[in-house]
Symmetry: C2
Subunit: 233 residues, 2 copies
């Protein structure tokens, strides 16, 4: 019995991604639609969609008449789960650190903005999520979902769609980061305490307090993320 996990183009794109990311391209050339079609025994339509996926990750350029060209690795979309899934573990580990550094930059700033703008309804909602987190401290997966929702809700309260987009686009890294830090002993109850501190700063509409609580929370997570022994996925 065969389980169909993904569509064909996604699978093909995955192989191409890993081949590109590890430098396994014949002559450094991205294969053409026809070459892909032949090698993977799929129709040209599927090969075509696979290449479109690579293009959407900013990994290649596609133009009529010209063959598909590789783009600089510095510009690839390292926020996409599909890309992350197919690059080597050590790169993922390093990216995880980089993401955490980025998070330390904008999450405290987001807390500051949110503290100045959030509505009573949003405060109420945060309180609910916080309570639910407390209730689910024995269920890591449920806790993780609530944790993400908590941080997203704060970001949403900034009324800034650009910040929101950054946050949303990086949610794979947010999940990965928490999955790791939640492995520490008594991590969940401690996290609840820290989230409560953030909540209180926000509920008091005190930017400084919210920011400080957020920094405190992030520095706890950092320790887990920096450890090399933990599997990244």
């Amino acid at each position: 019995m065969e389980v169909k996990l993904r569509t064909l183009p996604t699978q093909v794109a995955g192989v191409l991604i890993s081949r590109i990311a590890t430098g396994g391209l014949t002559g450094g050339l991205v294969p053409s639609e026809q070459q892909i079609s032949l090698e993977f025994a799929v129709s040209r339509a599927v090969a075509r969609e696979a290449l479109k996926i690579l293009a959407s990750l900013d990994m290649v350029d596609i133009a009529q008449g010209r063959r598909v060209t590789l783009r600089p690795a510095a510009e690839w979309d390292y926020l996409s789960p599909l890309l992350i899934e197919w690059i080597p573990d050590d790169q993922v580990r390093q990216l995880l650190r980089e993401h955490h550094e980025a998070r330390q930059i904008f999450e405290p700033a987001i807390a500051v903005e949110a503290a100045q703008r959030l509505t009573d309804a949003e405060i109420l909602r945060l309180g609910e999520i916080l309570e639910a987190m407390h209730q689910h401290e024995d269920d890591p997966e449920a806790y993780l979902e609530l944790d993400l929702e908590f941080h997203m809700a704060i970001c949403r309260a900034t009324q800034n769609r650009i910040l929101d987009r950054f946050m949303y686009a990086s949610r794979w890294w947010q999940s990965a980061s928490r999955r790791i830090s939640n492995q520490a002993p008594r991590a969940l109850p401690l996290a609840t305490l820290q989230h409560r501190a953030i909540y209180e700063g926000l509920a008091a509409r005190d930017p400084k307090k919210a920011e400080a609580a957020m920094r405190e929370h992030l520095s706890t997570n950092m320790m887990s993320v920096m450890v090399d022994e933990v599997p990244v996925r």
Copy 2:
């Protein structure tokens, strides 16, 4: 004579985007591949690719058997030029402000990180760009390119691919923002002065000085971006 500006799927996607963004969908339902194919007189393959584009903007969900469903507007990719191009001007104007706010958060932080990490070669390169900017103060388009390159180079120096991605992904907004602020009288020579200050902070590897110069630069730009009369594109 007809000029072909874009591929067919892109054009169709554009119309669908504007229809979705302005609430002009019949019954709130995203049309199916066949409906699109009939309405726009294109093949199903083109209709299909158009929908894939919408999906890549996080505007819709696609799954076999189910018809295409609309996703919440809060999660759309407001960094994509294609999406921006097809939403109303007042939204673009508002998003421009939001982008500037986001920029005020991470660009100073990037300056801090860069000041601690950049190599001699990178300092040299920044100096070259700065000099080129000075030379092109009478050519707004060329100046804009150099300006973007200057800021990208600083971000690149942080050695953080997540930050880099944010910066790269938001380059449409970076361009738009500068195109506006460069309309002010004597904007370019003033900008060169401010960039020189940033450069000097970085070259001295002085995080505080680089950060302060960056903030100064951003606050000048802010004034232009906040003015309502200037066309956003």
